[in-house]
């Protein structure tokens, strides 16, 4: 498989950061960074990561189901993650998720027909004191009201979305 030069540079750095003979350590980071570039963990990617980390494809395969951020199918271009854990729940996180699901017409882990947006109800993302919180891909958004949520979605749809911080 070929990756972008920037990703290849990152791979080289990651692979060199572990002790000699411990390249298996790079399996999860390589999968996650590659997924960010190609959209999901394909079988080709499993084999490629196995080759680069000097492990069997099975050893790569077995970690995928364990880590909630690794996906075997493509997500939307924008993966919208709404936290409903207790800190967010206390201030409307569950209502926000319901609102998101209704307004996007998506159930948990579904992708919109045009591939633009996917929705996921997620566990605590580390924004408890600034709840309710969502992440769009890796961007945090704090104190998200349903109105703010709708604004963000409109921005995703009309191409004007910019990172919050």
């Amino acid at each position: 498989m070929t990756f972008s030069p920037a990703l290849e540079e990152r791979f080289a750095k990651i692979l060199s950061s572990y002790p000699p003979g411990r390249q298996r350590s790079a399996v999860v980071p390589l999968l996650l960074y590659a997924q960010d570039e190609i959209g999901y963990v394909s079988q080709d990617l499993v084999e490629e990561v196995a080759r680069r980390c000097n492990v069997t494809p099975l050893q790569v395969d077995e970690v995928i189901g364990y880590y909630s951020m690794l996906h075997r199918k493509p997500l939307g271009k924008f993966h919208v993650q709404v936290c409903t854990n207790i800190a967010c729940q206390a201030v409307g996180g569950e209502d926000l998720y319901e609102h998101a699901s209704r307004s996007l017409g998506l159930k948990n882990k579904q992708v919109s027909a045009d591939g633009l947006i996917s929705l996921e109800e997620v566990e605590c993302m580390g924004a408890c004191s600034w709840a309710p919180a969502i992440q769009i891909n890796y961007d945090f958004h704090h104190f998200v009201t349903p109105e703010r949520f709708d604004q963000l979605i409109r921005a995703l749809q009309d191409g004007t979305y910019r990172k919050a911080s």
Partner: protein
């Protein structure tokens, strides 16, 4: 940046640089006492460093509150094997959002803390395990690491001592359980994050089968100031056996939720009423989850004399845990909170050991039907029995972390569970109620 206004009641020690312009840059750090502590430490013996840490009463900020100096003293230094320094920045305990601020605003403070650990056990490699969702922080910390290399604080022959130390970031990919130290080490080695049987503890057999210092991000970040200002100075900030300050994360029904740096032993009610401006909308307090979602809940009437340190909260049969407090007002549906809590643990249980895998799943099932209005009278005792049966019977602390809050909700708010049942089952057939 900080995401909430600071409070005048804070004691800013490890957050002292948070509001400076370019606080994450090495120039800001160096202009504000940066790397002074590491310079001091490399002139000290390992024993002297560990003695200082013990005297500081610094205790692990990840949740267990284990004395840091004691933990370091368990690491054998003469095995001939390489040794490792690992930072747990896999912050995922619900209610907790402090490591984010430490890495975002002062990554060099963390690196310096790890350097001191590295020098103590003559380690040449450190890894910062950062949860995958914190991608922007990995970028910030990577930048800080690169700056530290450029200025000679990392790399070869640090301070002319002949000692080499490299630090790397390592991304997680979404797994609460990797916050458990042995699961984290498995994950670092490229495997599923399944906990190891202990002993041996990571101090002796840790990363890559070698002696390892493994601490939380906030613990490392607290270390430089101890060597700059002295162990006694640090210890005196807190209460006996609970040295220093803590980034206290407050969420839920207060007027001013936020992360505030407070001395260990700060009174809980002052935190709620003075630091956080009281309960929002003029409501009354119902309950406090004092140390992340794993900690047993406190009823409002139990909160009066609580001090926020490890020993005071242990005395109140709960825990200071990760320092994340969820404040709940009188309108809170405790059944819904209990259900959401157990859903989380059921989702995160790795399935390796049966009491946790089955226990969390059955608790989720029973609490779900209870919450949906299909509960039975016997369910209340069944929930208590299921969680008691998990307690102390699992490989790692995740099973306990699921059982403790569940037992807490069901015993302290039994009346609410009973009222919930009465309310939701009023329309149901009498046979079910007798079950």
């Amino acid at each position: 940046m900080r995401y909430n206004e600071p409070s005048p009641l804070e004691v800013r020690v490890i957050s002292q640089r948070f509001d400076l312009p370019n606080s994450a840059s090495i120039d800001t750090y160096l202009a504000n006492d940066g790397y002074v502590a590491a310079k001091k430490a490399v002139e000290m013996t390992p024993e002297a460093i560990i003695d200082q840490l013990k005297a500081s009463n610094l205790r692990g900020r990840g949740g267990a509150g284990f004395p840091t100096g004691l933990k370091w003293s368990f690491v054998p230094r003469t095995t001939g094997k390489p040794t490792y320094v690992i930072c747990n920045s896999d912050e995922s305990e619900p209610g907790t959002c402090k490591d984010r601020l430490l890495m975002e605003n002062d990554p060099h403070q963390l690196i310096e803390g790890m350097m001191i650990a590295g020098w103590t056990i003559k380690s040449n490699k450190g890894y910062i395990f950062i949860r995958g969702e914190y991608r922007y922080l990995i970028e910030i910390v990577d930048r800080a690491i690169a700056e530290a290399y450029e200025r000679g604080f990392l790399g070869k022959n640090i301070f002319g001592t002949g000692w080499d130390f490299d630090v790397y970031t390592h991304t997680g990919a979404g797994a609460y359980e990797c916050g458990e130290e042995s699961a984290l080490l498995e994950s670092l080695e490229g495997k599923r994050g399944i906990p190891r049987l202990k002993p041996p503890f990571p101090a002796v057999v840790g990363a890559f089968q070698s002696p390892t210092i493994l601490n939380n991000c906030e613990t490392y970040s607290s270390i430089p100031v101890i060597f700059r200002n002295g162990a006694q100075w640090y210890a005196d900030l807190g209460t006996p056996k609970n040295g220093g300050t803590r980034l206290t994360c407050v969420s839920g029904h207060v007027n001013k939720p936020g992360v505030y740096e407070l001395p260990m032993g700060f009174p809980l009610m002052r935190l709620i009423n003075e630091v956080c401006g009281g309960i929002r909308n003029g409501k009354n307090l119902k309950a406090v989850i004092p140390g992340g979602s794993s900690s047993p809940v406190l009823r409002a009437d139990e909160c009066t004399d609580i001090l926020l340190d490890f020993d005071s909260l242990a005395k109140a049969k709960t825990m200071a845990g990760s320092g994340g407090l969820v404040i709940l007002d009188e309108d809170t549906d405790i059944v819904a909170v209990a259900l959401r809590t157990i859903k989380f643990y059921a989702h995160e249980s790795c399935g390796w050991c049966i009491p946790c895998r089955e226990g969390t799943t059955w608790l989720k099932k029973v609490l779900s039907r209870f919450h949906e209005g299909n509960g039975l009278k016997s369910d209340i005792d069944l929930i208590a029995e299921l969680s008691n049966n998990m307690m102390g019977r699992t490989f790692c602390a995740l099973g306990d972390a699921a059982a403790m809050p569940t037992t807490g909700f069901i015993t302290k708010f039994r009346d609410e569970f009973e009222a919930y049942l009465a309310k939701t089952s009023a329309a149901k057939s009498p046979e079910l109620l007798l079950a």
